[in-house]
């Protein structure tokens, strides 16, 4: 549905607004720095960890500890890319230039997704390598089974969070409600739900809870999810598709 000339146009749009590009930089820096910090702290306190936690220790996942905060910047990126068009009124100019609404939306999402993935991939590898360097003797390496998958998975996770936000923003149009729903949900609500026993089982199917299993190498002890890492990512992809379909259907039918 995307077309070459519209993709080119969307690439110009995205790179020519500095504030949007900044959010990607922030996502990278926060994810990497926070992952390093937490890894370093853990490594220092290793002696004080209870044995069961040592046994279930996942050095790969530990280096992605900054993702919980870094993903918020990815959410801001995804929301801004789409809702900037609405908040500025640019959407009317854009739709007059490209009246095939699906083509406009999916060209935009293609470009933003590719960019988010590129930044996500770099972030993920750097976060892993620097995180491992903080872990000292507890480190792992890319040759170990499942580690490379988890690191590439980190990039996919960041990308999918951004794309999910784009879909939600396409449904809600203005940035404030989209950010007001997505940020607290992924930062707080989802975590609370997955820690309360009554909602634990259901919370596993939330996009971030399911998707983040792709970054784990050692399964969480005593609490094995009913799906594997790719299954979890698949569930997240379904959420993303649902958000995109919702955004597309609404864009198609309403007045701009």
């Amino acid at each position: 549905m995307a077309s070459v000339q519209v993709v080119r146009s969307e690439w110009t749009k995205i790179r020519s607004v500095a504030s949007t590009m900044w959010t990607l930089g922030i996502a990278a820096v926060v994810t990497i720095a926070l992952g390093m910090l937490i890894s370093a702290l853990l490594s220092r306190d290793w002696e004080h960890l209870p044995p069961e936690e040592r046994a279930a220790f996942d050095p790969t996942y530990m280096s992605f500890a900054g993702m919980s905060l870094g993903q918020l910047a990815m959410i801001v990126f995804g929301v801004l890319v789409v809702s900037n068009e609405y908040s500025t009124g640019m959407i009317r100019t854009s739709l007059a230039a490209v009246p095939q609404r699906g083509r406009l939306l999916f060209s935009k999402i293609t470009v933003a997704t590719a960019l988010a993935f590129a930044v996500g991939l770099a972030t993920s590898f750097v976060a892993f390598l620097l995180g491992q360097s903080m872990l000292g003797e507890h480190r792992t390496s890319l040759d170990e089974p499942g580690v490379l998958r988890a690191v590439v998975g980190g990039a996919l996770y960041m990308t999918l969070i951004a794309v999910f936000s784009m879909g939600v923003a396409a449904m809600l149009r203005s940035p404030m409600p989209a950010l007001g729903i997505l940020m607290p949900f992924f930062f707080l609500v989802s975590n609370i739900l997955s820690n309360v026993s009554a909602t634990k089982k259901v919370a596993r199917y939330l996009p971030d809870q399911a998707g983040s299993t792709i970054m784990q190498v050692v399964p969480r002890a005593g609490d094995a999810a009913p799906y594997g890492p790719w299954g979890g990512l698949g569930i997240m992809v379904l959420w993303v598709l649902a958000a995109l379909v919702g955004g597309y259907v609404l864009l198609r039918h309403r007045d701009a």
Binding site: T88, R92, T93, A96
Partner: protein
């Protein structure tokens, strides 16, 4: 060519555009006139496929808007000068529009030059004055070198130089054989730019006529007279079978009269005249009479019909407020 057929738009209960049928033809400037809230902008949004008609349809050179391949090369529009991302430079704004329609990059510099924005091309649009924003919007409309141009209140907020520039631009575009469709709520503006006039009120078509016809049918010509010998002059005129009515400032007005007759008559009877001037009722007045019933937002009740003096004053005020906004 833009063809509207039974075009109707409802927003809930509110009928914004009601069964509009008319054609905008090439080679002339067509003025689209209506008071605030008449439905001009809504109609224009439907032309561009931004709002979906409740009923009826719009065709551009025989096609629906979304059937046009690279629509900016068929029709260029300025609907809202603020429809720009403020964080983007003028150059990149135009570049992304050009790329989306396969328009060569070189064209961006050309239109920036044509609207006089070359010097600020790399500046972010949010720092632009209203007039500069308007020029950027016009650059976007001209980008695809389209055969049809549509402008929604383009002179709003422009300084006199900007207004002159837009008028000249629209006329030259029409002279090149292009279709030019421009909205306004000022008759005085249309009178100097438009060749054809489409008037709407409360979404309904009130007139679809050439400007010349409209002027001829609606301009009341009369003679204004002031004299210190009022009673005497009235008698003289009465004898000659001419009726005069009182006007403001103690003046008299004679409808359709020729100043020559009245001057001769006064001379014969040795009546002193202080003023004898041929006048034309303003087109603005004709427009207000036409839309009187359909005006939605009166400034204050009883404002229609408005006496000439107040009318020109209010028109002047409208120009003035636009001027201030641009500064």
């Amino acid at each position: 060519m833009i063809e509207l057929e039974a075009l109707t738009k409802r927003y809930g209960e509110k009928v914004a555009v009601n069964n509009l049928t008319f054609t905008v033809r090439p080679g002339i400037v067509t003025g689209f006139l209506g008071p605030n809230g008449a439905g001009k902008s809504t109609t224009m949004r439907m032309v561009l496929g931004l709002d979906r008609p409740t009923m009826g349809e719009v065709r551009i050179d025989g096609k629906r808007y979304d059937q046009l391949k690279d629509p900016l090369t068929y029709i260029g529009a300025l609907l809202d000068a603020k429809a720009v991302h403020g964080g983007r430079s003028a150059y990149h704004h135009l570049l992304c529009l050009a790329q989306s329609n396969g328009i060569p990059k070189s064209r961006v510099a050309e239109v920036l030059d044509a609207v006089g924005l070359t010097a600020v091309a790399r500046k972010k649009a949010k720092g632009f004055s209203y007039g500069m924003g308007q020029r950027l919007g016009i650059a976007g409309a001209l980008l695809g070198d389209p055969r049809i141009l549509m402008f929604d209140e383009p002179v709003n907020g422009l300084d006199p130089e900007g207004i002159h520039w837009i008028r000249t631009l629209m006329k030259s575009l029409a002279a090149q054989g292009r279709t030019v469709f421009v909205s306004s709520h000022l008759m005085s503006e249309m009178a100097v730019t438009a060749d054809h006039l489409v008037v709407i009120g409360q979404g309904r078509l009130l007139a679809d006529t050439s400007m010349a016809d409209f002027i001829e049918r609606n301009s009341r010509s009369y003679v204004r007279i002031r004299t210190p010998q009022r009673e005497r002059l009235l008698d003289v005129l009465c004898e000659a079978g001419i009726t005069a009515v009182d006007a403001d400032g103690g003046a008299l007005e004679v409808d359709g009269g020729k100043p020559e007759w009245i001057g001769d008559l006064a001379a014969q009877h040795q009546v002193v005249l202080h003023e004898l001037s041929p006048r034309q009722a303003s087109l603005e007045e004709a427009f207000m009479r036409l839309t009187a019933e359909s005006v939605e937002y009166h400034a204050h009740t009883g404002a229609v019909p408005v006496p000439d003096e107040a009318l020109t004053a209010s028109a002047r005020q409208a120009w003035g407020s636009g001027w201030k906004k641009g500064a």
